[in-house]
């Protein structure tokens, strides 16, 4: 059956809620309204107002209370609407979610998921388009997933809800309506395992979230020019499937990292550093990063498109390495 990325996420939550009473959903406009992107539609009708609640505009309280609820037996799956609003709860996410168990002891399990919508979506501007994964990659103790398609969205979110540690789920706004065929039977996608989306021999393109689509388009273009690109979707940024990337680069000897957030101090910088630390001798060219320009994402559609990565920019980056 074909379902959308948003439905896949919603189905993951509902399937888990049917199996586990300790799961509760809350956030802004998630109940009757079903979330502003429609992910939590139908949960109120099926599970009742005890298990899904609207909150005030209080991101700090949403994340903080999820921590307290998680350590005392619940498995909260909360929504922050836009990833941009994570900064309002930065302390709770960075200090509390990530560090609490380390600081207080192993019995402080925090089985909680914080879901949020990230990425550019045509004119949403500088405060509703951010990709903040790299900020939280810097926080020890936080698992980060960023599904690039409906299959992974469902499977990863189910694994996240079952995890005993805090998970941040970055969902891309442009992907919510993307449809794909997914199995009727229950399945999960394990945390920390990358997927090779396309095998190749000349260059490894590591792409995150929506950028997987851009990288796949670029790979097709490159194929026309006789260049064979391997595309890897890490799916989980923390823990990061380092082995999958290193195996690929050992084969291709070239790596490009494509991410939608600003280039400076981004995910690409971390992955590039990791690759060269481990296998500088394997590299036939400098590692390239394709990322958004280091500007607040402009409102103008023309400037927005100029800032973000696209297949053409990826093709150019690859060609410059050969």
């Amino acid at each position: 059956m074909q379902i959308t990325y948003a439905q896949a996420l919603g189905d993951a939550i509902k399937e888990e809620m049917r199996q586990d009473y300790s799961i509760m959903v809350y956030g802004e406009d998630v109940a009757e309204h079903g979330g502003i992107f429609g992910v939590t539609r139908g949960i109120l009708e099926e599970f009742g107002s005890e298990r899904i609640k609207n909150t005030p505009i209080s991101e700090t309280a949403i994340v903080g209370s999820a921590i307290g609820a998680a350590m005392t037996g619940m498995r909260p799956c909360v929504e922050l609407m836009y990833a941009d609003f994570m900064l309002v709860a930065f302390n709770e996410l960075f200090h509390c979610c990530g560090k609490w168990r380390y600081l207080h002891g192993p019995e402080y399990k925090l089985p909680l998921v914080v879901r949020c919508a990230m990425g550019y979506s045509f004119g949403a501007g500088a405060e509703h388009s951010n990709c903040f994964e790299s900020l939280f990659m810097h926080a020890p103790g936080v698992t980060i997933i960023c599904p690039s398609n409906p299959y992974d969205a469902k499977g990863l979110l189910k694994s996240a809800i079952r995890s005993d540690n805090p998970v941040l789920c970055f969902e891309h706004k442009q992907l919510y309506k993307v449809k794909a065929e997914i199995p009727k039977e229950e399945y999960t996608v394990p945390l920390g395992i990358a997927e090779i989306k396309r095998a190749g021999t000349d260059v490894t393109i590591i792409a995150i979230s929506l950028m997987v689509r851009e990288a796949m388009s670029a790979a097709k273009e490159l194929a026309k020019a006789g260049i064979s690109a391997e595309v890897i979707d890490p799916r989980t940024l923390v823990p990061f499937d380092k082995e999958a990337v290193l195996r690929s680069v050992k084969k291709t000897h070239r790596a490009v990292i494509v991410e939608e957030s600003n280039k400076r101090m981004g995910i690409g910088a971390e992955i590039a550093a990791m690759i060269q630390e481990e296998m500088i001798d394997e590299l036939d060219a400098p590692i390239m990063r394709v990322a958004s320009l280091d500007v607040p994402l402009p409102y103008s559609l023309k400037l927005e498109a100029y800032s973000v990565p696209n297949p053409h920019k990826i093709v150019e980056a690859v060609k410059s390495m050969l």
Binding site: V63, G64, I67, G68, M71, T72, H104, G105, Y108
Partner: protein, 320 residues
């Protein structure tokens, strides 16, 4: 007399334990034995002892950076407390959390955030689960007059109030946020109680140096909360006897004022009451003090003799 002897003796022993533990902490800090920073809670013990005297089995506790010894009332031993303070393997988190994070979830201690106030929203989450599972548990969540201005506290109170969660917010008002007196940063007279009204919460103010007054006020509020009426606020008025941290020269207030306030001592007050009502004699009290001195010496010795955490185990309790 409206209280039974065992109850009063219990209160006295807890007050003494907290006082003498905090004094011991100051003493070993001055000797250079403590790796981190400490914030003495000497003089503010009654706020914790009077409130926690109403707790039931299974209730949750969220303290703050001052009067860390209060976790003893939740059942954490003096040995574990000092071991964590000294950063030792035998501490509650094996020296990974330190002074501000002495905790044991199995005893209802939910932990503390170093950025004051962030844990107020965490404590509301424990109250959410208590209500969700309908397990009758109540959360005692402590904060200071300084923290009363943090947004996270207000979000915590708002959420607790709309969802009618079983939590008692306790504002231990010692008048100072490091060097800043409450009168210069807080536009109301009672930073705990007055602000509670914005969330429609029941609130009371008690003399934080009178353990029985704190107990009576808490009893009323916790009965109200346990009946399903939602959260409430207790504000305990007291005075921070020492500096914010050890080494604070307290130039922002006069020595005379501080000395005068120290006369308003919760232990002396309870001792007067106990003597007057013939509950304990001076000899009984001296015996308790001597006994505690020995136990504290032993606890510190245990901590000092305990091993340091192993470097190769630095990632323990970290999962990604």
């Amino acid at each position: 007399m409206k209280y039974d002897k065992a109850f009063l003796e219990g209160l006295y022993k807890e007050l003494l334990t907290l006082r003498m533990t905090e004094e011991k902490l100051v003493e070993i800090y001055a000797l250079g034995k403590v790796p981190g920073h400490i914030h003495s809670g000497v003089g503010e013990e009654a706020a914790f002892v009077g409130t926690l005297a109403t707790k039931h089995e299974g209730d949750y506790y969220k303290g703050h950076h001052r009067l860390i010894a209060a976790v003893h009332m939740m059942g954490i031993s003096l040995e574990e407390i000092f071991a964590e303070i000294l950063g030792k393997e035998t501490g509650t988190s094996g020296g990974r959390g330190g002074v501000n994070h002495i905790a044991d979830l199995n005893k209802g201690v939910i932990g503390t955030a170093g950025s004051l106030g962030c844990d107020m929203v965490v404590s509301v989450g424990a109250a959410l689960s208590a209500k969700y599972f309908n397990n009758g548990r109540l959360v005692y969540s402590y904060y200071g007059d300084g923290t009363s201005s943090r947004g996270s506290l207000h979000e915590a109170m708002n959420l607790a109030a709309i969802w009618k969660l079983p939590i008692l917010f306790v504002c231990t008002n010692n008048q100072f946020a490091i060097s800043t007196h409450e009168s210069t940063t807080i536009p109301v007279s009672n930073p705990g109680a007055d602000r509670a009204s914005a969330y429609g919460m029941l609130a009371k103010v008690a003399d934080g140096t009178d353990v029985l007054a704190v107990y009576e006020a808490t009893k009323e509020l916790t009965e109200y909360i346990r009946s399903g009426n939602g959260p409430a606020v207790l504000e305990t008025k007291c005075y921070r006897w020492r500096g914010h941290f050890e080494g604070d020269q307290t130039k922002y207030r006069s020595a005379e004022e501080a000395e005068c306030q120290r006369q308003n001592c919760c232990i002396k007050k309870l001792e007067g009451y106990l003597l007057e009502h013939g509950v304990m004699t001076k000899e009984d009290m001296d015996f308790e003090k001597k006994d505690l001195e020995v136990r504290l010496e032993q606890a510190v010795a245990f901590a000092e003799e305990s091993p340091e955490p192993k470097a190769e185990e630095i990632f323990r309790n970290l999962y990604v």
